[in-house]
């Protein structure tokens, strides 16, 4: 499928503010095999979330974009990812992601999208931005190793 370049610039806001919870951060840290005390200490007032936790918010934007553009998730491959942090996300933060489609291009019969997500608190503090390139494959596309020729 090809994606209309007119979608560049569309923005998508988190459906609701995300309340960063202590047990969610612990669960995430354990799932990546890194339950270090900065993330899980029971006595810490506001444990840090791991550096890639912001992706949880990024995903909300991806889902909104996939719904809007009628993209099936199983046809999406993650090509690259960048995080730029003003500060770490912490337990107790109430944050939202604002995703924007930054670019769309067709290459090798596939659509490549660059999505930027700004993560801001309910006090409008800019916490971090994430940048993702995803590739959407055609129904007919065979090999999907993610290699860029």
């Amino acid at each position: 499928m090809s994606i209309d370049p007119a979608v560049v610039g569309r923005t998508y806001r988190s459906p609701r503010p995300y309340d960063v919870g202590r047990e969610k951060v612990r669960e995430f840290a354990e799932s990546i095999g890194d339950p270090r005390s900065d993330y899980v200490a029971a006595d810490a007032e506001a444990p840090l979330a791991p550096p890639t936790f912001a992706f949880v918010l990024t995903l909300d934007g991806w889902h909104a974009i996939m719904d809007d553009l009628e993209i099936e998730f199983s046809r999406v491959l993650h090509v690259d990812q960048r995080f730029v942090s003003n500060r770490p996300i912490r337990v107790g933060d109430v944050i939202s992601g604002i995703a924007e489609i930054e670019s769309v291009r067709e290459r090798m019969g596939m659509s490549w999208l660059v999505i930027r997500t700004d993560i801001r608190t309910d006090q409008d503090e800019h916490v971090a931005s994430t940048y993702s390139t995803i590739l959407v494959r055609d129904d007919e596309t065979g090999d999907a190793t993610g290699d860029e020729a």
Partner: protein, 154 residues
């Protein structure tokens, strides 16, 4: 709850690295991580990434993959550990980027896939910022490329 199996390949230095003591080329302690299907299920639940290609061989094959692949973001999170274990303070990371060069195939057995991570100091920048370049290989092939983190140290 057991964490995914991981071992460091070098002794952890005591204390956090100081900017003034570092040289370009300094090698960070590496990390070896084993990823099984169970780890993918756990990460899917924790992250909210339920893309079917991370748990169904049928769907993975339908879209042209040989079998289930690990979430790129799980590999990226594990790569971050090389940096945070070394720096001591996860808050030191100001920027972190990777390219997913090749998928990590995770067979449906008890062995899973093994990913080997490494890192080295690539540049000493202004304001006590250090650039660390990271590597990740599975079966001898690079699964991440252009992986780098910027950290502000004391």
């Amino acid at each position: 709850m057991s964490a995914p199996f991981a071992t460091t390949t070098a002794e952890q230095p005591t204390g956090s690295p100081r900017y003034a003591d570092l040289e370009v080329g300094h090698e960070l302690p590496g990390l070896v991580v084993r990823i099984t299907r169970k780890d993918l299920v756990r990460y899917a639940g924790a992250s909210g990434d339920f893309n079917t290609i991370h748990w169904s061989d049928r769907v993975a094959r339908d879209v042209g993959l040989p079998e289930v692949i690990a979430h790129g973001m799980l590999t990226m999170a594990q790569a971050a550990r090389v940096v945070t274990d070394w720096a001591g303070d996860p808050a030191a990371i100001t920027e972190f980027s990777v390219r997913f060069a090749k998928p990590v195939l995770v067979p449906d057995d008890n062995v899973g896939a093994e990913v080997v991570f490494g890192g080295r100091v690539a540049a000493l920048l202004d304001d006590n910022v250090v650039r660390v370049d990271l590597t990740a290989t599975c079966d001898g092939e690079r699964v991440l490329s252009g992986a780098r983190a910027f950290l502000r140290l004391s």
